[in-house]
Amino acid sequence: MRSYLFRRLIGMIVVIFLVLTIAFVLVRLAPGDPAALMLGPDATPAEVAALRVRLGLDQPIVVQYVTFLANALRGDLGQSLFFNQPVTQVLADRAEPTVFLAIFSLLVALVIATPIGILAAYRRGSVLDQGSITSAMLAAAVPSFLTGLIFQRYLATDLGWFPASGYGGADAGFAERMRHLFLPAITLGITNSALILRFTRASMLEILGEDYVRTARAKGMSERRVVLRHALKNAGIPIITVVGLTFALLVSGAVVTERVFNLPGMGNLVVNAVLRRDYPVIQGTLIVVAALYVLVNLLTDLLYLVVDKRVKY
């Protein structure tokens, strides 16, 4: 177990280093100059050049890379060119809406997908099963921005039940901030429920056909106990895998949904950073996202140990 964890840790470091390097190179390969964007349309080329010097963008790329690596090792991801703040602070400010959105939308997805997936598998071929497959296909096919726009227009603008956008502003308390997350969470939850539903149904179908399920029924065990205690527990590993990956995806920034609802999260941040060519923020976000992916994957693997005692590392 220890050596497994050690190997995974080394793997994590290698992945983050590679992401860090690729991110550094890619953002600089893209055309576009942050200095020209910051100064506005009437800035002269000389003013743009002067700002590039001040921002350190005139340095050779190797010098910039070495400085970046050395700083990153010390936990310093640099200074945002646009906000004039440390990238770590910019990221920390954006973490809350993204993390809460990820948690709420995952809960919504699980509440929708798990019971329907189990029931659909249990009543294979029934109207419920066919209906659930069709609904899942629809949920997966309709892009989240469209679902978001529909919710925004009808539930926020026309009915006024929820705020149309934002995260509540300066004086918003926790409840007000969560109220602003309601529509984005439902939007994302519906989209992500499709995959979880399909995985739950498929896993349950496979397990319900196993010999030990038949044996449990033959021993006179109630259907509820057979399905929930025996089948669901053993169908758990693929479901946990997909839930873990969905969570990592959500935490890394639900770009489109955050954009539609103007949430000040990491997804919105990275889009704005790309448009502004805010190199340190793009790099910092990619590093955090890579680290999150690797960490969630590790946690998912460790969760297998809890769900299935046969799993050994």
Binding site: D33, L39, Q85, V90, A164, G169, A170, D171, L269, L275
Partner: protein
């Protein structure tokens, strides 16, 4: 957690979530296209920076509703010497900065010297400024090496603005601006809001500048980059004002009980900027071929869809502006491919692609480019449309090797010389000796009627030499809550007189 406990917890959470916000004091929420990336308007020419900072930073002069220059921090209009080279500017007394200190001539001199060093518009005339001196605690004197009539207009403009800071904070970079405006900067949360609160020590300017009543307790500028989100926020009552809306939503907003559209007629003008430094467009016959071939009316229709939102107008200032003239406009909207072909023949055009640099950041730029491409190809041009994101365009247009035409737009500016592409040192590099001579006479002349006549010559020259290509006028759409009043429609709307009906 058992089922009952789960139900109770869920109900509590739902109740918490459904509870509305607590009522606040008078606050105006304004949705803008993005954050002001600096609160120092000297170093930026972005409209969003001007809109926000004009509430807490002030200039010596400003514009009245007819775009005439009037005093703001100055006590009166300047006394100008007969030779037009010395401007004596009296300052208002009793003006207080947000840090509690009083404004005097030392603050003004230090600020104007910084403006001359760091602001693009200040640097443009720095060579003509011999000295800026405090001639008394309430008076400054600017001496010029040659007359420059637009000086007060430059000092009044909120973009690359000559704002007045306390002398103590003057530095090449100002991170915490302190001004004299009716509101002061309270908080800034990047990508969330900029919060301004009323400045209790504010003293009103003279009547000409108009009273700044400080009606709202608080003004909040919220960056909302997605135009649809700005519309939904406006229509749901979340925002009191929304900037830069699509013309397509005009009817929807008009039908709403909550909000109404604000139409800024003849807000600005899209242009095809011409590369005079390198490439095809350095040849006058090629420039004239482009000018003759373009179907300006079709381009405007493709871009804006409804005549409510555009005017096919060749004058560089629309009717109603003091600078309006029809001089040279017979060369506008010719839509004549045969004539264009003749110019191409005269130029010995060899089929080298005409590179048009544009972006979809502003969809109407791209739509105009597509129509232009078809018309130019009909006239015999080979056209290469280079469609990039705005960041790339902003970089590539500084490299004259990469484009022949790039597309941009501008609001109508109160003084023609504020249009940077008229200058030979601009990125477009239009250096025509006759134009330079007209421009020199124009900046030296102080009589308004004589200046108008010279401007007509300048417009004629723009058409004859194809210095740039104006496509037409377009209107901008903003939106406001029906409960909001006191905001004068402008490219840079101000909210100090905004009030809300309960």
């Amino acid at each position: 957690m058992n089922l009952r406990a789960t139900c109770i917890a869920s109900a509590a959470l739902l109740a918490l979530v459904a509870a509305g916000p607590v009522a606040a004091q008078t606050k105006v929420d304004v949705a803008l296209i993005g954050d002001a990336d600096t609160f120092d308007p000297m170093v930026s020419t972005k409209d969003v920076v001007s809109i926000v900072t004009q509430h807490f930073l002030e200039t010596l002069y400003t514009f009245d509703k007819n775009w005439q220059v009037v005093p703001l921090l100055a006590a009166d209009m300047p006394k100008v010497s007969e030779d037009g080279t010395t401007y004596t500017m009296p300052l208002r007394q009793g003006v207080t900065f947000h840090d509690g200190s009083s404004m005097d001539s030392a603050d003004v001199v230090a600020s104007l010297n910084r403006w001359k060093d760091v602001a693009s518009r200040g640097k443009a005339i720095a060579g003509q400024i011999s000295s800026i001196e405090a001639t008394s605690p309430t008076e400054i004197t600017i001496k010029l090496s040659e007359p420059y009539a637009p000086l007060t207009t430059l000092l009044a403009f909120s973009n690359s603005a000559a704002v007045i800071y306390p002398q103590e904070i003057i530095a090449p970079e100002i991170k915490q601006p302190i001004g004299t405006g009716p509101y002061k900067l309270q908080a800034y949360q990047p990508d969330q809001y900029t919060q301004l609160v009323r400045f209790d020590g504010y003293t009103q300017p003279g009547a000409a500048a108009g009273e700044r009543e400080q009606i709202p307790d608080e003004i909040r500028f919220i960056p909302v980059p997605d135009p649809n989100t700005r519309v939904e926020g406006l229509l749901s009552g979340q925002f009191d004002y929304a900037d830069s809306l699509s013309t397509e939503v005009f009817d929807r907003i008009e039908a709403s009980d909550v909000a109404e559209p604000v139409l800024l007629q003849a807000f600005g003008w899209p242009t095809f900027q011409v590369n005079h430094k390198k490439g095809l467009m350095t040849d006058l016959n090629i420039r004239r071929a482009v000018q003759a071939a373009l179907p300006y009316d079709d381009m405007l229709f493709a871009a804006f869809g409804n005549e409510k939102f555009f005017q096919t107008d060749g004058a560089y200032y629309p009717e109603g502006w003091p600078w309006h003239t029809e001089e040279g406009t017979e060369l506008y909207n010719q839509n004549d491919p045969e004539k264009a072909a003749e110019y191409l023949k005269a130029a010995g055009y060899d089929g080298k692609p005409l590179r048009i640099l544009t972006s979809r950041q502003y969809e109407f730029h791209y739509q105009m480019a597509e129509v232009a491409r078809m018309a130019l190809e009909m006239a015999g041009f080979k056209v290469e449309l280079d469609v990039v994101d705005w960041a790339t365009l902003a970089q590539n247009r500084d490299n004259p090797d990469l484009w022949d035409i790039y597309i941009t737009h501008s609001p109508f500016l109160p003084e023609p010389t504020l249009t940077s592409s008229l200058s030979s040192t601009s990125r477009e590099g239009w250096a025509n000796p006759e134009k330079e001579e007209i421009l020199k006479r124009f900046t030296h002349e102080s009589d308004p009627e004589a200046r108008k006549a010279i401007y007509a010559e300048l417009q004629r020259k723009i058409y004859d030499d194809v210095g740039m290509i104006k496509i037409g006028n377009f209107s901008a759409v903003q939106g406001k809550s029906r409960a909001l009043s006191g905001v004068t429609p402008s490219p840079w709307p101000a909210f100090w007189n905004a009030s809300k009906k309960q």
